[in-house]
């Protein structure tokens, strides 16, 4: 127990937690890691959203599919991220694609659930009214049900984005973890605190920024909620 303490004391004087000089001297590496992180996160969430909405609609239209889809999502979600990357690694190799597929799977589960909850929450009388107005199944979906499900979809999107930002760091396992590369690299490189903290702070900041952007977007695409809020 005394050995690590002695080691920590030895490196402490020139190993600060925050160092502006580190960030300046390594701006290129930091920005490259940040760019990789943003790229992986945004691509994963976008791909997941494109797949999740039709999947949720399928589960919504064909009731017998709902149980299996949600059960599969639950089981997959239980699989720890490290294990998922371990499943994908031997087949997809050491590439960014491996990380991307893993991230898409996790984001997909959150988004399918969010979208389905949103669709389910559409009141029956609204659906009836749309039917009464002569809307077909598809028109009802596009013009009534999906817009009303938007709050649920946006919540799912925000949740998926924030967790994907954190999860991307686990990509270090296959060598493409964005800011995770910085964090684990700092740990492996003589426990370089400034590098670890730079990666961590950027990661949390990125999650907050993306979350705020999506909150703003949600505000923009659901103007009726604002009006209702203003009146209420």
């Amino acid at each position: 127990m005394s050995l690590p303490v002695a080691g920590a004391a030895r490196v402490a004087p020139d190993n600060p937690w925050f160092s502006w000089r580190y960030a300046q001297d390594n701006a290129d590496a930091v920005l490259a890691a940040l760019r990789e992180h943003v790229g992986l996160t945004v691509t994963a969430v976008l791909v997941a959203a494109v797949v999740a909405v039709p999947l949720a609609v399928a589960a919504y239209w064909f009731r017998p599919l709902t149980g299996p889809i949600l059960a599969l999502a639950g089981v997959l979600y239980t699989v720890p991220s490290l294990a998922l990357f371990a499943f994908l690694g031997p087949y997809l190799g050491i590439r960014p694609r491996t990380v991307l597929v893993g991230l898409v799977i996790y984001a997909l589960l959150v988004l399918v659930r969010g979208t389905l909850v949103g669709l389910r929450a559409v009141p029956e009388h609204v659906r009836d009214a749309a039917r009464g107005l002569g809307y077909g199944r598809l028109a009802r979906l596009l013009r009534v049900e999906l817009p009303l499900a938007l709050p649920g979809i946006m919540t799912g999107l925000r949740l998926a984005t924030v967790s994907t930002v954190a999860l991307t760091t686990v990509g270090v396992l296959v060598g493409y973890g964005g800011l995770g590369q910085l964090i684990l690299g700092g740990f492996d490189n003589n426990f370089y605190r400034a590098q670890i903290m730079t990666g961590t702070v950027l990661c949390v900041a990125l999650a907050l920024v993306l979350d705020l952007l999506l909150a703003g977007l949600g505000h923009l695409v659901t103007p009726w909620l604002r009006r209702a809020g203003g009146l209420g």
Binding site: M1, V5, T78, G89, V165, I183, L184, G186, M197
Partner: protein, 226 residues
């Protein structure tokens, strides 16, 4: 030979189970780390959540806290804590795991107490029960299903996160996976996949077991009032 066959072969080698750093030893480490972190998280999260729920305070702060922990990468905490005065070794890993287990326990305990029917609480007060008695005899028993739900979420989160401890040499089943990646995919593919299967199986077992426990303590279907 495809990775799945390699994995089956790796799992079939008895030495891989009984080696000093074989599956059984790693499983022991994993359970010890996750078990102590879960116990610690319960010791912190449950009393605090129950108390906040009883006093009806801090609900907003709980939501904020759990959202913030969602944004902090597990990996960051696992790398940062060993560099604090905690030092390398188990305490730092267990503390990092605990941090991720506390929010669900807090939230579930808080909700469990808040969800108690106000009329029941009023009735208990009307019978002359003191604040502490209302808590111990009414709120706590009614909150039990929520507490088990919180335990389920927290334990799963901790067991999954424990696998990541391997990235910082913290031990556990994840170590099998990271060692496999150290051998490159061609040589270690089977071991990587086998490690993944073991980690996933453990998580599913924990989830299944606690889901069963939750069903046992769930309130029976509400009987219609006589």
């Amino acid at each position: 030979m495809n990775p799945l066959e390699q994995a089956a072969r790796w799992l079939n080698d008895p030495l891989n189970w009984t080696n000093p750093d074989g599956i059984l030893a790693r499983l022991g480490e994993h359970l010890a780390l996750a078990g102590s972190a879960t116990a610690l998280a319960c010791a912190v999260g449950l009393p605090l959540g129950l108390w906040l729920g009883h006093r009806h305070r801090g609900g907003g702060a709980l939501v904020t806290a759990s959202n913030v922990t969602l944004a902090v990468p597990t990996l960051a905490l696992l790398t940062i804590l060993p560099l604090t005065p905690l030092g390398f070794g188990r305490p730092a890993v267990v503390l990092a795991l605990t941090v991720f287990g506390v929010p669900p326990l807090l939230a579930h305990a808080y909700t469990g107490v808040r969800e108690v029917d106000p009329q029941v609480r009023d009735a208990a007060r009307g019978m002359g029960l003191s604040g502490w008695q209302v808590f111990a005899r009414v709120e706590l028993p009614l909150a039990v299903p929520y507490l088990v739900g919180g335990l389920r979420t927290a334990a799963l989160q901790i067991v999954a996160t424990t696998a990541l401890a391997a990235l910082v040499g913290g031990g556990g089943l994840g170590q099998i996976i990271s060692a496999g990646f150290g051998l490159t995919i061609a040589a270690g593919g089977g071991q990587i996949l086998a490690g993944g299967l073991l980690v996933a199986a453990l998580a599913l077992l924990v989830e299944g077991g606690l889901a069963g426990a939750q069903r046992l303590v769930a309130p029976h279907r509400r009987r219609p009032a006589p």
